[in-house]
Structure formats: C-alpha cells, structure tokens
C-alpha cells in the first residue's frame, strides 16, 4: 500500500530559506539546497519549495535553486509561489521540478490548470488552496499569500480544480496555520470528500500526535510542515518513527 508522505516545506525568498509566522514577520534561516539535502537525509518523501519572492525579476533565482537541488536530492520536488503561466511550469519542470503548484493565478484563471495538465500531465499540477473559515461555517479560498478573500468557496474550488485536471490538492488552513494546535480536520474532511486526487494537509501541526491524528481521522495522503522542521523541533525521522508506532504506513 502507499505510504503516507511527510513533506517539509521550504519558504524561499530571493534564494534564501525564510520562515514567516502567521503569514507575516519573516526571518532568514538558510540555504535552500542545504536544507533540502538535510531533509532528504532525514527521510523526507518529497520537498516543497514555496517561492515568496515579491518581484518577478528574482524568480529566476528559484529556477537555479531547483536546478541545484535536483543534482543532489533524489525525491520528488514541488515548486510553488508566483506561478502564473504554462511557461512558468515549463521552466521549473525543465530545471528538475517534478510538480508545480499554483494558487492565486489559478483562482484568477482556472484554465491555467487545464492548460498545464494537458501539456505536462495532471501528475505535475498541484493546486494549492489557502482556506479560511467564514461565520456561516463555510471556507473561502484566499489569494495573494492569504491577503485577499476571493469569496470563492474553498471546497467547491477544490472540486472544480480536480475537474480541470489538478493531480493533487495542497490544502492549507489559514485558521490553523501558526497555532500549533493541530491540522484542521474538518476542512480536510470536507475537501477530501469531494476531491478524487491526493490531498496534502498543511497548517497547524505542533507536535508528533498531530501527524498521527491527521492520518487516523482524515483521508489525507500527506502532511506538510515548515516551522517544526526548520527550527529542528522535530525531524522527519521523528515523525515517521511515531507514525510507525501507530501502525500508519510510512517509508
């Protein structure tokens, strides 16, 4: 059977790994290639680079980061952040990315999903959704790194993204993100119920038990974390040892 995947995420700005807290307050923590190598050695099943570079002229830096990482790290690499065209996909895939994730640009232009899936295959098209809970109990998809409420229902959006050809959903709960209180199980279950593709849980993990909880209580295929791994509070190896103890299949 498929192993549940543990995915460290590296936020990269101008070629440096940084970490934001609650989408604000950024501090630099290191070289992305070295960080990726470290996670690879810890047993990461996949590595996500999220480019939070503000200006497009620095985006080429990300292509270099991917190219250098792909020479040393032999697990799947996913790159997201600021992707707005099929050409962006092509550039990153050529540099050695295995998957590319889209967020704001896909909300603005959903056809980007189908165009990319037609050209490169669904397997490399990840749709990232930043969701926040509304008073009526629904969730809205936010764009621009969590700054703009698009008014789009996040669950409906996940469903539509899959119909358009998304091969995977990377679902971040903005409510849980930064709280360290655990993944947003309700949001995950709502999206997993409508998405026929793998769903990656993101946002909110603060301790080992949150990883077993998300796999025991939802159908998530993978769990993503950034801060926990960055600040070496936990290693990927710690998480996997814990999951193994709980009889959850891991690599």
């Amino acid at each position: 059977m498929l192993a549940k995947r543990i995915i460290p995420c590296l936020d990269v700005r101008d070629g440096k790994v940084v970490k934001g807290i609650n989408f604000v307050g950024i501090r630099e923590v290191g070289d992305p290639v070295e960080c990726a190598e470290m996670y690879n050695a810890q047993g990461a099943d996949e590595i996500v680079f999220l480019d939070i570079t503000a200006t497009s002229d620095h985006r080429e830096t990300m292509v270099d980061v991917v190219r250098e990482t792909a020479k040393k790290v032999f697990v799947p690499l996913t790159v997201g952040g600021g992707i707005s065209s099929v050409e962006d996909f092509a550039k990153l895939l050529r540099a050695g990315a295995d998957k590319v994730s889209v967020n704001s640009a896909a909300l603005k232009n959903p056809q980007l999903i189908s165009d990319a899936a037609d050209r490169f295959g669904s397997q490399c098209v990840v749709v990232a959704i930043d969701a926040r809970k509304m008073e009526d109990g629904s969730w809205h998809a936010y764009s621009a790194g969590g700054r703009i409420d698009t008014g789009v229902d996040a669950v409906e959006w996940a469903k539509r993204a899959c119909e358009l050809g998304a091969g995977e959903i990377l679902l971040t709960s903005m409510d849980a993100d930064g709280t360290r209180d655990g993944f947003d199980l309700d949001l995950l279950n709502a999206v997993i119920a409508v998405a026929p593709v793998p769903v990656i849980a993101s946002g909110g993990c603060g301790k080992l038990e949150h990883f077993s909880e998300v796999f025991e209580k939802t159908g998530a295929d993978a769990a993503l974390a950034a801060s926990l791994f960055h600040y070496r509070e936990l290693t990927v190896g710690d998480v996997k040892a814990h999951l193994k103890e709980k009889n959850i299949p891991v690599r």
Binding site: V75, P76, G96, D98, P198, D221
Partner: protein, 199 residues
Amino acid sequence: MIAIIDYGAGNLFSVQNALNYLGLSSVITKDPTEIRQANGLILPGVGAFPDAMRMLDSSGLTGIVREEAVKKPFLGICLGMQMLFEESTEFGLTKGLGLLPGRVDWIRCPYKIPHMGWNSLQFAKKSPLLEGVEEGAYVYFVHSFQAYPGDGVLSAWCDYGTQIPALVEQGTVFGAQFHPEKSGDVGLMILKNFGRLTK
C-alpha cells in the same frame, strides 16, 4: 557510457542527475551512432503512450531501439517501461516495442488513480537490479496504466489493491514502473546496479 534516449518525452535531466551523482557517465542523445556505441541504454518517458510511441517513431529511433535493446543492458522507466510491451489501450490500441510479452491497460483497483506516491517492493524473482535492495523497500510511482506482463518477466511488484508490476525483465531488457531517479537511496542503488551491468 549510458545513452539516455532523447525522443522528446520525459524528464531526461533527472535521470542524468542521478547517474552523475553515482559517477556513471551518460549522454542524452537521439543520435543513432551514439545509441549503437553506448554500453547501456535508458528509455525514459512521461506522458501518454500513443504520443510517446509516435515521437519515438518520428525520431526514427524505434528500429534502432528494438535492435540495441537485446544487445546490451536496456532500462525503460515509467512510460518507457510500458513501451517495452506489445501494446497499450491508453487512448485507443497502440503497438509498443514488443520487447517483452504482455500488454498495458488501466490499473483496476478500488483506490485513487493515478497510483502516486511511495509503495513497497515485493519480490517475484531474483534480479541483478535488486542486489542490495531489501524486500519491502519503498520506491516512487506515478502512473494510471500498468503492465499485464506475460509469464516469467515479473521481478518485483507492489500491492495497490491489485498487483502492480514494478520491475520486469527478460535477458538484457529491464523495465521499472517506478522512478528510480526519484526513489531516494533505494532508487540510486537500482540505478547503480544497472550501471554495473553496463561495464
């Protein structure tokens, strides 16, 4: 020298990065002379079966690949593995290279398709590519179609509610449904074993 066959499909650089990392010299090429002179061949592939076969045909390499694959170690990866079989039903019936008996068809299982992620190898027979690899080791898959191989060619498989052929071989012809170049240390070991066969 290992020739990675460039017919317009697949992420050739990932395979070459892994070979470089292992110190195995390789060339990405569509030149028939280089392909004939190489000590080993790798046929990568990502995408749809009919497109890939059409691209291989229009590169004028189909005949050369068929001839050379039985002369020296030859490894098809992912779609490149599926192309080794006689035919595939993906987007209508398409003839494959016919280097291995069997056909390619949808994965029939109760789980999500594509079969994407890390799954563990179960051994069916001894293979030189699996030397140093433990049964149960995980490798990385991404595919919606699978091989239904003829007798005797299956070396390793994995369980996904159905038996999915992971490694197939006959003589000099090998095929990996998973991506060894994306399968961490286990994948590198398998590529290293392949490299050794080419020396």
